[in-house]
Amino acid sequence: MTMPGDDQDRELREALRALRTDPPDDGFRAALHRRLLEATPPPAPSAWSRLADAWRRPPRLLWPAASLAGAAAVALLAVGLGQRPADPGGAGSRPVAVAVSVPSTKVAVVRLDLAVDVAVAAADIQVSLPDGLVFWSQGEALADRSFAWTQALRAGRNEIPIAVRGLRPGRYHVTVTARAGEQLIAHDVPLEVTEG
């Protein structure tokens, strides 16, 4: 049975579809071309990008490399984005952070696990370190204290490993924020650096 509201929706959608006409070029392509030439080219991959790309390789290639770098500890962070149904006891329904201890001579791999109900084309993610922790890449410390990037997320769990190293003993918090659409989640991952 057709409801009056259905007819109205159909009529409205037909009116909107009628707007789907290709506008005349009117110099659009030429203007865009000029602006592209004037614009700086896409930035060269940062140390972070190279690091993140390397980490996205299949695990068989990833973890031996991480081991060679001296990875000693793993902290798990599960961050739920999207309207996930209640899941008592499940890691995906609420942030979970496991505090780990790592000697100051070792690299800790903090694995962020971003759980989303639907695929997200562009999620904004930022990871910040306090004084006393540094990002670690290819056997050396990076100068940046914070990295922000945008990436797509698959529906389900998305693991993002971050390698950090403690400069001196103490209890620290790695701050992670993730924004998908209008949802913003911020969380601290505790990490304890010990002597040795």
């Binding site: 109205q8 789907r20 506008p23 695929a119 209008e182």
Partner: protein, 211 residues
């Protein structure tokens, strides 16, 4: 332009390496959609084209962040949408000042002269629909453009907007309601029947609410 497969991958790789021609080939198929999307945010065509170009320049700047975790077109529209919403926020103060300066009635007033030519009548109807669309709340408007106007699937709109499919359906429903009201307001000033009201000059929502 390839929409997937090795040809698209090669084009993306060239564009990511800074090849402007490759980037233009990559996004050319989306020009019309991006320009129409921009019209939902900017009333003047020249301003809408300027906004569309800003969004495509942002896509160019962010291209290295595309890592095939969605289709290229979904990723592109997510970046474009973010650019439009950011631009809207930064321009809202300017627009409010402008509206106050000339008055809303004058700013939105349609031409009183009835065009004799049918083509002009259709153009006037399209302009009225665009004006009404721009009165719809931003998040509802974006869903209406992506789904109703451009024909993206629910899950594509959900991925572009970063919300569940149920939220997209809700936004569409509420957006259509707002659009009907805006069209009724437009038509009330011209003695016309707005689309989506089945011959009435008042929307079903307005009748139900007794407005």
């Amino acid at each position: 332009m390839p929409t997937s497969g090795p040809e698209l991958d090669a084009l993306v790789a060239r564009a990511q390496a800074g090849d402007v021609a490759a980037f233009e080939a990559l996004v050319a198929a989306h020009f019309a959609q991006v320009r129409r999307y921009a019209r939902a945010f900017e009333p003047q065509e020249a301003d809408a084209d300027d906004l569309a170009q800003e969004a495509l320049l942002k896509v160019h700047r962010c291209l290295r962040q595309f890592r095939y975790q969605s289709s290229f077109s979904t990723w592109l529209f997510a970046v474009v949408r973010t650019t439009f919403l950011d631009a809207l926020k930064s321009r809202s103060r300017r627009d409010r000042d402008l509206t106050r300066a000339i008055g809303p009635a004058e700013a939105e007033a349609p031409s009183e002269a009835l065009p004799a030519d049918e083509g002009l009548v259709r153009a006037e109807e399209r302009d009225r629909l665009w004006r009404a669309l721009r009165k719809v709340s931003v998040e509802f408007r974006s869903a209406l453009v992506l789904y109703d106007l451009e024909g993206h699937a629910y899950d594509e709109v959900a991925a572009i907007e970063g919300v569940p499919v149920g939220t997209v359906r809700s936004r569409l429903s509420r957006g259509r309601e707002q659009l009907r009201r805006a069209l009724a307001q437009e038509a009330a000033g011209e003695g016309l029947d707005p689309p989506g009201t089945s011959g009435g000059t008042t929307s079903s929502h307005l009748r139900r609410s007794g407005s």
